[in-house]
Structure formats: C-alpha cells, structure tokens
C-alpha cells in the first residue's frame, strides 16, 4: 500500500461518523525520519490540523511574550540558571533529597526507565491499588510507564484532555504540550463517541461540550482514586518542593485527592531556589500555551497532615540524562522546560507532525534530545531540520538548537559513500589546478540544465542527494575567473 493511499484513510470532518483510525498506526514508528515524514506529508487532514493549531499558538505566544519588555533578560537568566544547575547537579540533587525527606517524602533513584517503573509498581501494590490516575508527564511517556503497568496487570488512566484523547484512540502523542494536536474537534468528537463508553448522547464537536464530556467521564475516578502518578515541571532543591503547571484541574485532582502520590522527575528538572520560579513561571506559560499564566500551578513539599496525599514518593530519574551531561555542547538540551515553542515554529514539525520523529520528544528539541538519550537509535533526527534557527529564537531557556544539531551531525555516523565523496572532494579542493578543472567540467556538464537553473534528478549515486533536494547549476562564471578578470 502506498503512502498516499494510507493517507486517505484518516477520518476527515467531511465524514463525521467514520471509524477512528489512530494517526500513529499509519506512520511507521521505527522507520527512518525521511520515510516516516513522507507518509505524514501524504495525509492532508493531518497537515491541515497541524497548520491550524501551530498557527494559532504561534500568534498567541508572540503576543504575550511581546508584552514583557524584559523578555530577553528573562531568557538570559533562565539559560544561566539552568547551566548552573547542570554544573552543580550532584550537590543540588542531594539538597533536594534531604529537604524532601525532611518534609515527609520518600525519595527513590532510578538509573533507567525500567528501574523507575519497577519502583512505581511496587508502591502501587503496597498501597493496595490496581489502578492509578495520571497527570500528563513526559517522563512517564519516555519510560513507557503505562505499557509497563498494563503488563503488570495494573491500569493507568490518563486525565489530561489531550492524553485522554490519545489513550482512547489507542494512538501515540504527537506533541509535547498537546499530544492530540493532530486531531481536530470533529475527530475528537468521533473518538469520544466511539471509545469513551459514557459519552453523552448527541455529543457535538463544540470544544466546551467535549471538555464537559471529559469532566463527567473522569469525575468519579478522581474522587475515588487511591494512587496518582505525576511528573514535575520543576523540583526546588532549597525547599524539596515539586511544581506542576497545568490548565484543567486534572493535575490538582491527582495531586490532592489520592492517599498516595508518585512523582517521576528527571534529574534535570532541579532549580536551586524557590525564588527562581519568578523567572521560569513568567517564561513557561507564555511560551507554551501563550497565556500570561496557566490556570493552575501546584507546589507541594513532602506531605502535610490533613492536606493532600499522606504517602508522597519522588523517583529521581536518570535514564540517559547523565550521558547527555557528558557532552559539553549537547548538555544544553537538559535545560529544556518542555514548553513546545520550538515545535510550534518549526517548518519541518508543522508539516510532518510529531509521529514521524519516532520518539516521545519530537520537533527541534527532540532532534537534539532523542539521539543523545538513546545513542545510535535516532541518528537521522539531527538532519530533520533546515537549520533556519526559528527554534533558537523562541526558546525561553535559549537552547542553541541549531548549534547542537550541527554538533550531532558531526558526531553521528556517516555512510561509506558519503565519506568517500567527501574524501574525493577534499583531495580535489586541496589541488588548485584539479579544482579548476573540476569546476569547468561541472559547468560544461550542467549546460543542458542552465536555463532551468537546477537539476531535479541525478543518476546514481548522485540520486541519493537529489531524492529530497534540487541541485543548483554552477554559475556561468566562477569566483576565481571573476577575480582574475578584475585584477587585470
């Protein structure tokens, strides 16, 4: 089946009652980026949904970021605070642990995702529970906690609206902030209608009605849940506090109502001081949802008698982060606060969507994070970029994503053919006479395409290049002869 034919199977708003087809099932997860991207590009509804959503959020972000006349100072501070955290990670992690324990939390350490999952399952079993409610968390996506829970006979219910949509559709997230960004309202209505079980009769695609359906669907579960699993946006070393930033109140429900709370926190989430929130809580909401402030932010420190969960656990997660820390250039990827601004401005992400990246972190940040977290598995992602630099301009913590992309391209493997071609080019360029001859040959050889200005297809092995690019025709006169003429 060709990519184009597969693409037409996606439900469109013109066919409201069509069966739910999860987008991720159409885009091969383990295929290299160019192959997966090609499939995504052949899905017109997907591209329309992405263009609409990313366009909306770009405008909102630009407006609220523009309201602050000290935005660049905030970015400078955020980048420097995060760099400081990376340099002092062992000390800050120990300080966080000490303060969290003093406040009544239990702190665990997990070398990798499997270890974090095992610890979480053990805590759930000890609490006598068989299911958990979940706050949206990238760390738990990364370690595939839901899948592990299911394999262990436990159930994990996503409660964020977009995560709920993705879970009901049996799809995979395609965006860091809005995992269901690839669905429009009509598709979401169909998913609720067919998969929710208790969707109100006659449900319309009005976003308010869809939000109401989610409220009714999850209400009982929130009020009766014994255990919740969350991530955290920030972990404050000075106080041992965790911070969760959200909109819907599902986070507050999970963080407040159950008896037991398990928070899985990447070690890079640390901040030295509570006061540092004055920087990050200005940058994060404006960069992510384009709001002056998100509706709800929860801060908690261990447990407190009579207020919220009594049994509070924090799992500090490495899972490749210390390896990223080793790379002087690459470690700035650990500054990421998961706002998604870089996805929303990326010309590549806007057209392919998140699934094509084949990793839980898509877009520009994913292109530098995935290959570092899982070395050898995503070496094609640093090439999923035109290096236009829009991501760097919007990044609230000033991660120089293009710099890291180029750095990773240099470090990554290069095919024998490419190495041979580059070796030959080097040999020719090192010899001026040979280089002049080569240029002349190129000019003559490209004569038939002179009027068109570019070559669409080269014969093999040049076809490997032209499969996704046009080859510009060399100009009539090269610099050397122009210079020679001028010197006369």
């Amino acid at each position: 089946m060709s990519a184009r034919k597969r693409g037409t199977a996606v439900p469109t708003s013109a066919a409201p009652a069509s069966a739910v087809v999860p987008a991720a099932s159409l885009i091969p997860a383990d295929a290299p980026f160019p192959k997966a991207a090609k499939v995504a590009l052949g899905m017109p509804q997907l591209r329309k949904n992405l263009a609409h959503a990313t366009g909306t959020i770009r405008a909102k972000r630009a407006k609220v970021a523009g309201e602050l006349d000290d935005w660049e100072h905030l970015r400078d501070s955020a980048a420097a605070i995060k760099a400081d955290v990376q340099h002092r990670l062992p000390e800050l992690a120990i300080e966080f642990e000490r303060n969290a324990i003093a406040a009544g939390a239990t702190v665990h350490w997990a070398r990798d995702g499997a270890e974090a999952n095992r610890i979480a399952v053990r805590i759930v079993r000890e609490a006598g529970a068989e299911e958990v409610v979940k706050v949206k968390s990238m760390a738990t996506q990364e370690i595939e906690l839901n899948e592990y829970f299911e394999a262990q006979g436990l159930r994990a219910f996503e409660t964020d609206l977009a995560e709920l949509i993705v879970q009901l559709a049996e799809d995979r997230p395609s965006h860091i902030l809005v995992p269901a960004i690839h669905y429009n309202r009509t598709e979401i209505r169909d998913i609720f209608d067919q998969r929710m079980g208790d969707a109100p009769a006659g449900l319309t695609d009005d976003p308010a009605a869809l939000a109401e359906a989610a409220r009714l669907h999850l209400r009982r579960r929130f009020l009766s849940a014994k255990v919740a699993v969350s991530g955290a946006n920030f972990a404050v070393a000075e106080t041992g506090s965790l911070v969760v930033v959200e909109s819907e109140g599902n986070g507050r429900m999970c963080l407040t109502m159950p008896e037991t709370l398990i928070s899985i926190v990447g070690i890079e989430k640390l901040l030295p001081r509570f006061e540092d929130l004055e920087v990050f809580m200005q940058l994060l909401p404006r960069s992510s949802t384009g709001e002056r402030m998100n509706p709800y932010t929860s801060v908690w420190t261990g447990s407190r008698e009579g207020d919220g969960p009594r049994d509070v656990h924090v799992i500090l997660l490495d899972n490749g982060r210390t390896r990223v820390l080793e790379d002087e250039v690459g470690r700035q990827a650990l500054s990421c606060i998961r706002c998604s601004a870089c996805l929303n401005v990326c010309p590549v992400y806007e057209r392919t969507g998140g699934h094509a990246y084949g990793h839980v972190y898509p877009g520009p940040i994913g292109a530098i994070l995935a290959p570092q977290l899982e070395p050898g598995r995503h070496d094609d992602l640093p090439y999923a970029s035109s290096l236009c630099g829009a991501c760097y301009e919007v990044c609230p913590v000033k991660i120089d994503i293009p710099e890291v992309l180029v750095h990773l391209r240099q470090q990554g493997p290069h095919a024998a053919g490419e190495q041979a071609a580059m070796g030959a080019a080097k040999a020719v360029m090192a010899r001026p006479r040979l280089w002049r001859t080569a240029l002349r040959a190129a000019r003559l050889g490209s004569l038939p395409w002179r009027r068109k200005g570019f070559v669409r297809r080269l014969p093999w092995p040049g076809s490997r290049w032209t499969v996704s690019r046009d080859l510009p025709v060399p100009p009539k006169e090269d610099f050397r002869s122009w210079w020679k003429e001028r010197q006369r």
Binding site: A53, T56, D69, H73, D76, S77, I81, A83, D84, Q86, H87, L89, P90, A93, E97, I101, V107, H108, W109, R111, E115, L161, I181, P207, A208, L210, A211, E212, A214, R215, F222, L223, S247, E248, G249, N250, M253, M257, I267, E275, Q282, P285, E291, R292, M293, P295, Y296, T297, S298, V299, T301, R304, G306, D307, G308, L316, T322, R323, E326, R331
Partner: protein, 209 residues
C-alpha cells in the same frame, strides 16, 4: 524515610553525574537583570481586574458583594477559620477544618457542596493570578477544588504588581495553588475553553479599604 538504596542506584547516578562534570568547571553567576516590579505608577488593581475578566472570572467589590458572588448557591464550604463577617447571605456555611468541632469533610460531602468561599495569600496583577498557600482563611487544597464554584475574598494589601513581589509572601514549604482564572483547556485546536475539572466559575471579591 528514604528508599534510595535500591541496588546502589543513588550512588551510581551521583557518580555518573560527577564523572560527566569532571572537567566542566564552574558555571558563571546567573545574571538577573529582569524586572522585579512594575512601574510604580501602574494601577495594579485595575490591571488585576482586567486580567481576571480576560480569564472570564467575575469580579465584585466590597464585603457585602460576597452574598452576590455566591449567587444563591445553597451549600457553601468554608475553611474553619474564615472570618465570621464574610459569611453573609442566604447560604448555609459548612466549615471544614482541623478543629475538634469542625472535622474535615469526606470527599462525598465535599462533592455535594455548591461552592467554596475562601481568602487567599496574594494576587499578582500582571498575570491575574490568585495564590493560596494553606494559610489563614484558605483551608486545605481539596475544598477549593471539588466544588464547582470558587469565591475568593481578596484584600487590597494582598495585591502586588509582579510575580517576583508575590513569591516572598508565600510559605514556600506549604502546599500552594496558583489560580489564574477558572479551569480551562487549550487541548482542542489550541483554543482556550473554560470549564474542565477544577471549579468552572471563579468569583473574586475585592475589599479595597
């Protein structure tokens, strides 16, 4: 209590960090040239009201307006230490608190409440944020979460212009909730719609004197 010992994970992760940073040197001191306050001539009350209305919260003025803000709701949960003079209007006020006479309500009881009436710790004008830190007249987190309507009484001296002015007013180790408008979501086509799991109506009563 700590469960850090599983198979030496803690020591191994710390060793990995130290190894990764062995020749990293020290990070320079972070610059802090950003604003920590608004221009002194800013009318922070007007700005706060503008932001609250933008979030589709309702704004009322004066202690008598509490009754109006409660809008005929019959059963209203209040923190046990809520000032008596705020309990006005026709509602039945049901206290929730750690005192012998006012035990904590069960989740079922809480779910049966029509509204909650509390004070707050601080409010930030520039972002329209109301902050609770479990201090006086605020109660535990669950009471401001489960009922569908939250009425917050805000005193003039609790309003600051900038986030950086508000943080020192909070107890950093207390459970905090920062509230900017009623519950909302942007998950459908990235358009904000109000009303998901938290209170779907937020009313702020300003006491200006």
């Amino acid at each position: 209590m700590s469960g850090s010992g599983e198979g030496g994970a803690r020591e191994e992760i710390l060793a990995r960090m130290r190894r990764a940073l062995s020749d990293a040197g020290e990070a320079p001191e972070a610059p802090r040239e950003y604003r920590r306050a608004l221009d002194p001539q800013t009318d922070v009350v007007a700005m706060l009201i503008d932001r609250l209305l933008d979030y589709k919260a309702n704004v009322h003025h004066g202690v008598e307006a509490i009754a109006e803000a409660l809008d005929g709701e019959a059963r209203v949960v209040v923190p046990a230490d809520l000032p008596r003079e705020w309990r006005i209007g026709g509602a039945e006020f049901i206290p929730d608190g750690p005192f012998a006479t006012d035990a904590y309500l069960s989740t079922e009881d809480l779910d049966g409440m029509d509204a909650v009436l509390t004070g707050c710790a601080a409010a930030v004008a520039v972002s329209g944020t109301i902050m609770l830190d479990a201090g006086a007249a605020q109660g535990r987190r669950a009471i401001t979460l489960v009922p569908d309507r939250h009425v917050v009484v805000l005193k003039r001296e609790q309003i600051v212009g900038h986030l950086a002015e508000a943080l020192p007013r909070l107890d950093p180790r207390a459970p905090q909730t920062w509230i900017s408008g009623p519950s909302a979501t942007s998950d459908i086509e990235l358009q904000r719609v109000e009303g998901v799991h938290g209170p779907r109506r937020l009313d702020v009563v300003l006491l200006e004197d």
